[in-house]
Assembly symmetry: C2
Homo-oligomer: 439 residues x 2
């Protein structure tokens, strides 16, 4: 038998692959070479591999890093600024004014660093972001080592960094051109805010620019009843139908929220091959409504899971989001068999990666994919005994149970500590910004 | 100024008192003497106290330990055994058979130890339990040092330890007589399973025995639609009305779940002065329904928060339960102002303590109450900056952020480590039991 040299072997954990057939290896081994998964199998089958470093995962679950398919990283600075109020009050009286005064390239960088730290420490290795000053978000991505889709925002209002809305699309294009193909950690995107904050022309132009450049087009849609009513009033059709009529619904479009929809809307989404990201905790907290996720999945739509920004959640822990997603739909349909644990886990891993266009790169533990994975310590009072690993991952574990985190084969979190940035120093800067915002 | 000697001073934290007016001290101090809170106030106001030991809570929140008003401690052994199925399938095909084979005094002790460890490590200092072999639960309470209401079960079926159901009430009475007034950590109670598993005679007799002995009477009621239909069919009235007619609804009764109710039922509950415990995650996971909690609170009913057993949750983290409770009702009513963070925090502290009859002893940080409190480390990426401590407690923090835990002035958890029992040894025993159950 040939002696092959790998960089890292992760040994003896319960390996939950999240591959297409849901393989779980009771005592498995993941072999990593040059940032990729070189091989995966039972401990015995991986015997021929030698490695420079081994990580003992006895008593742990090894699984793909989670994929947070929708967030606004810099908004961690506004977490808890205002809660328990209506969405429009929250946006107009708190969030938009705070953004107007306090959002600068530097605060975007600080807020994004904070969120990337939170994501990595709670087991998320890929996120899909949409905000402004996205170059500063990119800095935070590189500093922390997380993988991200980053979308520069387009909105027909003055936005942070863009006082003239007519220049928003140009700014988004220049962001995409700057980052396309430049670094494996960052994949640029265009983030168009919504059909109620962008003109028809803006929607069409920005969608076409994204298509021309082959990048993901993210858009909030049908989040609230009031948005639905407004679009129906102005255009005579639902938000989803409106986007379809102006040809925004194409493969490569990611619909965020998608709460207020009828059967015809769902059919349009399925027929056009667009993806959806579900953000149950934000939709619950803002009382937006419950998206018809089981129906979308039934119709073959690729659905990912997101936290939304931490100001409307109020954290970025995707373990919590999985748990809530599974439970919310059960009680709302009065059917405990709906959205079972495995379906939800796939939303937060392989299907989430598919939804944001990274399904060939990450989202499952398979030979050839990038080595983005996490090791969860299951030796905790709330995680023993373990009869079914997927049940524990979805219903019992939390982000704080994540012990090690790896992106591109590089260890970013070890024994629950983030290796890439100095948190104490970051917290000092965060406290300064927080004091200004609180005033 | 007099120099007074205390045992412990907890200094410089943000003190969230959960007292009747919701006082929060930005830089507060809690003084502990002989297991009680001897004094509480600003750092300056507490200057005259000296103490043998000081705990620095800079950058932390200090608050009352959480009160989990409904759980079944030993059921941690069945967590994740079966999920995503109907309640009756879950009970009849998985839980009841597993209980029949595997529940013994020793496994009850092991399962309860595991749950007490989980509760303490996630910031719960008081729980209200109902199960069988409750003497073994009491052992776990003493070993770990948690405070508990413990109710020996009454059910008209053969139950663990009681093959002849007619002896269930006698067993419950003897449990109450054994533990009443014996130790401040344990307060005995009678736990009557439900109106659909107990005869009218059993309900009346066990309620009277509880009243005669002045102990809490816990009962599951109106959990599912099928229970509701069955009671209506058999008795011509709703489950709550049925309990009222047979005089079970009296002060000192704790109604668990209380999901399926109409306006008249709610009025009966309010008029009779009985308390309710809300278990949103279990009700969601089993698709039981959504209890009318905002209405009950509006009508002046004392409502606590519980996790239910960890087999239907699937953890005992009351921080998660607070978060989900606040969000579930917002989305189900389409009103983001419902069940605000402070209301939910009170359910998990002062009101929960009131609901289980311990409101004069614990549930808030006030002079004279027992020193049951927790210190939460807020220097985490998901908890800075902090604009409003209650927002972070309910919407952003989790059990794993709890640094120190104290019951009766005794430190049980320090720097996230449980001091009272050896977890590694416990996990070995748990693994043995788990292997038998898995077979």
């Amino acid at each position: 038998m040939q002696n092959m040299d790998a960089d890292i072997k992760i040994e003896s954990g319960v390996v939950v692959t999240c591959n297409a057939v849901g393989d779980i290896l009771d005592k498995g081994c993941v072999v990593i070479k040059q940032g990729r998964i070189a091989d995966i199998g039972t401990m015995e089958a991986m015997n021929s591999w030698t490695a420079k470093e081994t990580i003992d995962a006895t008593g742990c679950v090894v699984m793909p890093g989670l994929v947070n398919a929708h967030t606004h990283l810099p908004m961690s600075l506004f977490r808890g600024l205002a809660d328990d109020i209506h969405l429009m009050t929250w946006l107009n009286d708190y969030i938009f004014p705070a953004e107007a005064i306090h959002i600068t390239p530097e605060t975007v960088r600080i807020g994004a660093l904070l969120s990337c730290a939170e994501l990595l420490l709670s087991g998320t290795t890929t996120c899909c972001d949409g905000y402004f000053y996205e170059d500063s978000v990119a800095e935070a991505i590189f500093e922390t080592g997380i993988r991200a889709i980053a979308g520069q925002g387009v909105i027909d209002y003055p936005a942070p960094g863009v006082s003239d809305p007519s220049k928003n699309i140009a700014a988004a294009i220049s962001f995409v051109e700057k980052w396309a193909g430049r670094n494996s950690l960052i994949t640029p995107s265009i983030f168009c805010h919504s059909p109620y904050t962008c003109s028809r022309e803006t929607l069409i132009r920005s969608r076409n620019e994204a298509a021309y450049r082959g990048v993901l087009f993210q858009i909030h849609v049908a989040e609230t009843k009031s948005e639905y009513d407004q679009i129906v009033k102005e255009n005579g059709v639902s938000p989803v139908a409106y986007l379809d009529i102006i040809n925004v619904l194409r493969p490569g479009t990611l619909l965020v929220h998608a709460v207020w929809m009828d059967e015809e809307d769902r059919k349009r989404i399925a027929d056009r091959g667009v993806s959806v990201v579900h953000n149950p905790e934000s939709n619950m907290k803002l009382a937006s409504g419950i998206a018809p996720i089981p129906e979308l999945i039934e119709q073959g739509v690729t659905v990912g899971l997101g936290t939304d920004g931490s100001a409307s959640n109020n954290n970025l822990d995707l373990f919590e989001e999985m748990d809530v997603a599974a439970k919310l739909h059960k009680v709302s349909r009065m059917d405990p068999t709906i959205l079972d644990a495995e379906t939800v886990l796939n939303m937060a891993t392989a299907h989430g990666a598919d939804a944001i266009g990274l399904g060939k790169v990450v989202g499952s533990l398979e030979e050839g994919k990038q080595a983005d994975l996490i090791v969860i310590d299951m030796q905790k009072p709330h995680l023993v005994p373990m009869y079914h690993p997927i049940s524990h991952i979805v219903y019992a574990a939390k982000g704080s149970d994540v012990r090690d985190v790896m992106v591109n084969g590089k260890v970013l979190v070890k024994d629950g500590r983030l290796l890439t940035i100095d948190l104490e120093k970051l917290f000092e800067r965060v406290a300064e910004v927080g004091r200004l915002i609180k005033k």
